[in-house]
């Protein structure tokens, strides 16, 4: 049986646990932020699905893809926060355009307000992190 000298066997479960909770936490945060970003995008103007995916994929760190955006759009539509309609396109296939509903606009206003409060509070706690490039 071989032993890793650098890492004690007794440390491994803790490290595995930390790695697991870290990735779980990160994925949950990103999922929550994705909803915020999608609703904010649509708050500016109506967009079609492909456009939304491309726009979100262009933001480094958000790690959003079709696999997360389309199911999210479908859920938001079910929750009546947005509506979709098929529009013919002169250049290509018909496009499913998403528009925020009145409830969606109210929801995003409230989410933005909450997000600003949270971000402010977290930034205050992060003030001691000298290595942070956040500021």
């Amino acid at each position: 049986m071989q032993y890793d000298i650098a890492t004690r066997d007794s440390d491994r479960p803790a490290q595995q646990f930390l790695a697991m909770t870290d990735s779980k936490w990160l994925s949950q945060v990103k999922r929550g932020l994705l909803e915020l970003c999608v609703l904010n995008l649509l708050n500016q103007e109506g967009m079609y699905g492909y456009q939304i995916v491309k726009r979100l994929m262009s933001v480094p760190g958000l790690v959003a893809g079709a696999g997360t955006v389309y199911p999210l759009l479908a859920r938001l539509k079910r929750e009546e926060l947005l509506t979709s309609s098929l529009e013919e396109s002169p250049q290509g296939p018909a496009r499913r355009t998403y528009v925020l509903t009145a409830a969606g606009r109210r929801h995003i206003r409230s989410l933005n307000e909450t997000w600003r409060e949270i971000a402010e509070a977290v930034e205050e706690f992060m003030a001691g992190d000298n290595h942070s490039s956040y500021r």
Partner: protein, 195 residues
């Protein structure tokens, strides 16, 4: 829709079928929405290629960008867990007085004036009957002691209830009334007899 080779069409159909499996827990309208969006996305990507006919490699590249089909089932809220519709009995709280102790306080409060009223009635109707007067005196004493006992019992038991004002008032009334009724005549008697 851009024409595909048979292999490319098969690959696309297989991908969409796997996505459907991954999102099977969702409502039918949502499944249609997601699959429809994916078809449009694939078509948009393919429309940017110059080839007239979409080959296997092109299709594979597009599908690779879309990510693994299993990822579509991982969006939060995709498969809501049904909540069993069972009624749970409310947990006992100390917010309200137990009705038993509330009734006890009321009984105590009634007992005090009722005994006094009966005594006064008998004395008024038969003022010269010494026997009935003595019996009524004993009945009055018993009724007042009962009122006090009930009042104390009610007060002890409703001590921790938050909604206790009415019950507490009645209990104190039942205790304080007989005390005054029994103590005052005693004091008067002591005062006059010592002169």
């Amino acid at each position: 829709m851009k024409p595909r080779t048979a292999e490319a069409a098969r690959l696309e159909a297989d991908y969409l079928a796997r996505v459907k499996v991954a999102i099977a827990g969702r409502e039918a309208s949502e499944i249609d929405e997601i699959i429809g969006s994916l078809r449009e996305h694939i078509e948009e990507e393919l429309s940017e290629t110059d080839d007239d006919r979409v080959g296997l490699v092109q299709m594979a590249n597009v599908l690779e960008q879309l990510g693994p089909p299993e990822a579509y089932g991982q969006e939060e809220g995709a498969t809501p867990v049904p909540v069993p519709n069972t009624k749970v009995a409310p947990a006992p709280t100390t917010d309200q007085i137990d009705p038993r102790y509330s009734r006890l306080a009321i009984a105590a409060a009634i007992c005090f004036p009722a005994g006094f009223f009966v005594y006064a009635l008998v004395v008024a109707l038969a003022p010269n009957n010494g026997e009935s007067g003595a019996a009524c005196g004993v009945a009055l004493l018993v009724s007042q002691l009962t009122a006090m006992a009930l009042g104390i019992a009610a007060l002890v038991n409703i001590r921790n209830a938050r909604q206790k004002m009415r019950g507490r008032f009645l209990a104190w009334f039942a205790i304080a009334g007989p005390v005054l009724l029994l103590v005052l005549p005693g004091l008067l008697w002591f005062t006059y007899s010592s002169r």
